[in-house]
């Protein structure tokens, strides 16, 4: 009835007052009930295995404590193997042996770092057995006894993150996880090193979904949530611990593996962002005079540019039509008769002469009256130091120029106008504050095909050239494209 430590037969129902030289149960505790014993053991157990389970590098003191002369702990350590041996279930299988080996190894490693006596003590012990078959856990893992020897006795409900103990023995996969299920449970009852707890907690929830006995449930990409992965990434030091666990199932925890999902996320997100930025840059490159380089202004400039291009296209179409029309008329009448610049947007787009004839009075070349819509186009262009506003109404061109630096561009402007065959009618402007501003009105010579954007771009080009040259003498004007 009494737990025979030597024979390692534990009867849960017996009065748990182990006797024997090796056992040093605290005599002060007169709790014959197994429950209390179990409770004791329960209390003690986590201390032990918490020590082992934690990252060794962080927990030297606790390990020391375990190995040193804490009678309770040592006694428990001694008791443990007995419990395991006593169980009629799978504990007779290889697993306990594995566990024992692992624990021995672990303890030996630790012991070497600690004082010698403790080492002796721990090394002399029977291989530490885990408390899995602890009474307190029996009800938690009812299937433990019935499970086969090869499979981990703990059901999926006990799936918990693989304890870090396994790092000591990478081959002890299932066993180690088995070992730690109760421990983890116990550990939850006691304050744990925060990183470990926080790390493990997110996995605890995940673990339940997987039915691989004893294996950590984070298999495959689907198991890990982003938050969990993020937490894992955050607690880098503990990842090292988790990482060491290798199992039959590929446990994807740890920076390299478990971060897969997260780094994939990062990578795809990064790719997406870089691609998007490239597209913005491509858009910006098309725009003639980009001023700012942030996304909103790029899009704004693009909008203006598209509108400008549309206007230009319309204008060009119109001019072409007019030209064809004029040539026709010239053929008929031998006279340049196209004075009115009729613009019918639809007609221009259609490009059909018939539609234009529908608008203009047929066979009346000398008619100078306005028929239908007038040609009107309006364009603004900005560069760093210059703003140009070109408006064409019929045959009058109005150019407004604001030059932000002190460059006298009047001469340039007039040159440009004469090149473009524009008849200057009116000029006004001058030095206003820091700017030079001019307003020029001119008339288009008949027969010349000048359109708004051509004017605007030429003006800006010329003025900017001088601005950047910053020379006293203005540069030679650009050759006329006509």
């Amino acid at each position: 009835m009494i737990a025979d430590l030597d024979t390692a037969y534990f009867d849960p129902n017996s009065i748990a007052v182990p006797e024997g030289p090796d056992v040093e149960f605290p005599r002060t505790q007169d709790h014959p009930h197994s429950y209390h014993l179990l409770h004791q053991l329960q209390e003690n157990v986590p201390a032990d295995f918490a020590d082992y389970s934690c990252d060794i590098s962080n927990d030297h003191p606790t390990v020391e404590k375990a190995i040193d002369g804490d009678p309770r702990n040592t006694s428990n350590n001694r008791v443990m193997p007995n419990f395991v041996d006593g169980q009629a279930s799978s504990w007779n299988s290889n697993q306990p042996g594995l566990l024992q080996d692992m624990l021995q190894q672990l303890v030996a490693d630790q012991a070497q770092m600690q004082n010698g006596t403790a080492t002796q003590k721990s090394s002399g012990e029977v291989p530490l057995m885990p408390p899995p078959d602890h009474l307190g856990f029996f009800h938690l893992f009812p299937s433990a006894r019935s499970s086969s020897s090869t499979s981990p006795p703990w059901p999926s409900s006990s799936l918990l993150p693989k304890p870090p103990l396994s790092y000591a023995n990478p081959n002890a996969s299932a066993a180690s996880s088995v070992l730690y299920d109760p421990l983890f449970h116990l550990r939850n009852l006691q304050p744990q090193p925060p990183p470990m707890g926080e790390l493990l907690y997110p996995y605890a929830g995940l673990a339940h979904e997987d039915n691989n006995g004893g294996e950590f449930a984070v298999n495959g990409e689907g198991g890990m949530t982003t938050t969990a992965a993020m937490m894992m990434m955050m607690y880098g030091e503990d990842e090292g611990v988790l990482e060491m666990m290798e199992g039959g199932n590929r446990v994807k925890i740890g920076k390299r593996r478990g971060g897969n999902k997260l780094t994939k996320h990062f990578a795809t997100e990064r790719d997406r962002r870089t691609q998007l930025n490239e597209k913005y840059v491509a858009l910006r490159d098309l725009i003639p005079n980009p001023t700012k380089f942030d996304r909103a202004s790029i899009v704004g400039d693009a909008i203006d540019y598209i509108k400008e291009l549309l206007v230009t296209v319309n204008e060009l179409n119109l001019l072409l039509e007019r030209k064809r029309w004029g040539r026709e008329r010239r053929c008929k009448r031998r006279r340049v008769a196209v004075d009115e610049e009729v613009e019918e947007e639809d007609a221009a787009v259609d490009g059909g002469e018939s539609s234009i004839t529908a608008v203009t009075p047929p066979g009346d070349p000398a008619d100078r009256s306005f028929n239908g819509a007038l040609r009107s186009s309006c364009l603004q262009r900005k560069s760093k130091a210059t703003e140009v506003d070109v408006r064409i109404v019929n045959d009058e061109v109005t150019i407004k120029l604001v030059q932000r630096k002190k460059i006298n561009c009047l001469l340039l402007m007039t040159r440009v106008l004469s090149e473009l065959q524009l008849d200057l009618h009116h000029v006004s402007g001058g030095h206003i504050g820091e700017h030079y501003s001019f307003l020029l009105t001119s008339k288009i010579f008949e027969g010349s095909t000048v359109y708004a954007s051509a004017i605007a771009s030429k003006v800006i080009e010329v003025v900017d050239r001088q601005y950047y040259a910053a020379a006293a003498a203005p540069p030679p004007p650009s050759s006329c494209s006509y």
Binding site: R272, Q275, L276, K279, Y280, A282, L283, L286, R295, A296, V299, G300, A302, I303, Y305, I306, K307, L309, L310, T312, V313, L316, N317, L319, L320, K323, R324, G326, R327, R330, V336, N408, L410, L411, T414, R415, L417, S418, Q421, D423, L424, H425, H426, V427, S428, G429, G430, H431, F438, F445, E446, G447, S448, T449, Y451, S453, A454, A472, S481, Y482
Partner: protein, 204 residues
Amino acid sequence: MDGLCLGGIGGGENGRIGRGQLEDNDDDDDTQYKSKNLEAERRRRLKLSQRLLTLRSLVPKITNMNMATIIDDAVTYIVDLQKNVKALSDQLLETEAPCEDGPKASVDEIDTAQEMEANGVKPDVQVTSIDEHKLWIKIIIPKKKSRFTKLLETLSVCGFELTDTSVTAFKGAMLILSCVEGASGEMLKASRTKDLLLEIIKGI
């Protein structure tokens, strides 16, 4: 980064109010700046999304509705339009009809001079000095094609620069009122300038 900048500004403002209040206002300012930052960020994002929507409305070919495709479509559309413009303008240049301005221009010139006379507008050149470095000129001449340009060119060669200018054309004449400065800040004399101008006008 924005937070840092704003904090800096807040510090400046606090300095103005009074050093004593600096610490008291810190928390308020932090929250204030945070919310201002939030609002600013929200507005910025709103601005961007509105503009993207406008861009989208302009582009005819729409595939998907997400940000990347909007920009892609816009790029293709702009390239398309540019090609269009180029083709059309080339076409226009090719089929450039010979200008019949030659004879007409000369007719205009004659007309303008005659018109001037007919209307009683007399050619005139006046120069007065405003101060040491500025002159004020008034010129009335018959309007000819690109005469003003030539005038300006010649004046610049002589070292004059027109600053505040007003030019109008009426009744065949061109009226030029301008403030003239020496290109290199030299002193100008009214009489000499007037002679110069008369010479120039004769030449152009």
